[in-house]
Amino acid sequence: MDELRAFAGEPMFGAALTVGAYALALRLHRRWRRLHPLFVATGLMIAFLLLTHIPYEQYRQGGDIITFFLGPTTVALAVLLYKAVLTMRRHLRAVAVGVVCGSAAGLASSALVVWLLGGSRELLLTMLPKSSTSAIAIEIAGGLGGNPQLAGVFTVLTGLIGSMFGPAMLKLLRLRSDTAIGAAVGTAAHGIGTGRLVRESETQAGISGLAMSLTGVVVSMLTVPLNGWM
């Protein structure tokens, strides 16, 4: 068993496990549309690692290879952004104003919830940037005096939750335009939300990619003044 655990440090182990779990999750998603592929894939992997006592650090040797592709994939969002700008030019101002209002509401409500429910000051600062992308959140939380790694974790969880429940919630609220859905999901759930929309509507995903990059800038700027008095 120890030998098996050491073998899990082979990069191909983590890479094959991730792609395999994702392929299985996509299959289950085709059968039961409500199962979010990313939630199912990561749930399966977490259960597997806990059951086999394989440390995350071992899995990560291969996991990092998969994460590497997030770089060129985020750059590839430029294609959707380009198409969105060409076809939705008159809505760009609406998206920008929406992103600023949404990000401000997110920062204020995040701080308020943690404070009201008795979370620590460090937790408050760590959770503030959770709607921006994880790379940005790690920087902001570190600068404010929060826990950078935990900030990255909250960011991906925020993205997963927004990606799972966002579209259904917006439908309930009768928000049906591609512009409103794309802006809302991109602002709240960054790349993970955008990654879901890509599979459903190219226009929504383009707006979402735009909103997500604007959110990174807006959240960074809105938290700058906090550096002085936190």
Binding site: Y22, L38, A41, T42, M45, L49, R60, G63, D64, I66, T67, F69, L70, G71, P72, V75, A76, A78, V79, Y82, V85, H91, A94, G98, V99, G102, A105, G106, S109, V113, V114, L117, G119, L123, M127, K130, A135, I136, N147, L150, V156, L157, T158, L160, G162, M169, L175, S177, T179, I181, A184, A189, G191, G195, R199, G209, S213, G216, V217, S220
Partner: protein, 119 residues
């Protein structure tokens, strides 16, 4: 492969912007903005990279999976203050979506009507 080469080149330029010029955004976000600008300016043609881009984008969620599995290392930290964490993740995320969706929806509908009014 040309498309993949272009995407990686812009990613690299973005990383250089972050690490060497200290632009306060992640390299891949800088790369995305520069590539979108290059497409709009006509320096890069959509056809050169559309296939590669669509393939990667279709599976974008896969590339987040290992980071989410990393939550496993923080179960202790999350458990210690689970109530504010869980409530915040759901309430604040929902609020961001409602505010953004509502404001954008209202303004976008307004801009369509305006255009209609002016013919």
């Amino acid at each position: 492969m040309r498309g993949m080469a272009i995407l990686m080149l812009y990613n690299l330029i973005g990383i250089a912007g972050n690490k060497l010029l200290h632009v306060p955004l992640p390299g891949n976000v800088i790369g995305m903005m520069l590539l979108a600008a290059s497409l709009l300016a006509g320096w890069v043609k959509l056809a050169w990279l559309e296939q590669s881009a669509q393939y990667l984008l279709k599976h974008m969620m896969l590339f987040f999976a290992p980071t989410i599995v990393g939550v496993i290392s923080y179960f202790g930290d999350i458990g210690a203050q689970w109530l504010p964490i869980v409530v915040n993740l759901f309430v604040s995320t929902a609020l961001v979506m409602i505010v953004t969706g509502w404001v954008t929806g209202k303004l976008a509908a307004g801009s369509v009507e305006e255009e209609g009014d002016h013919g």
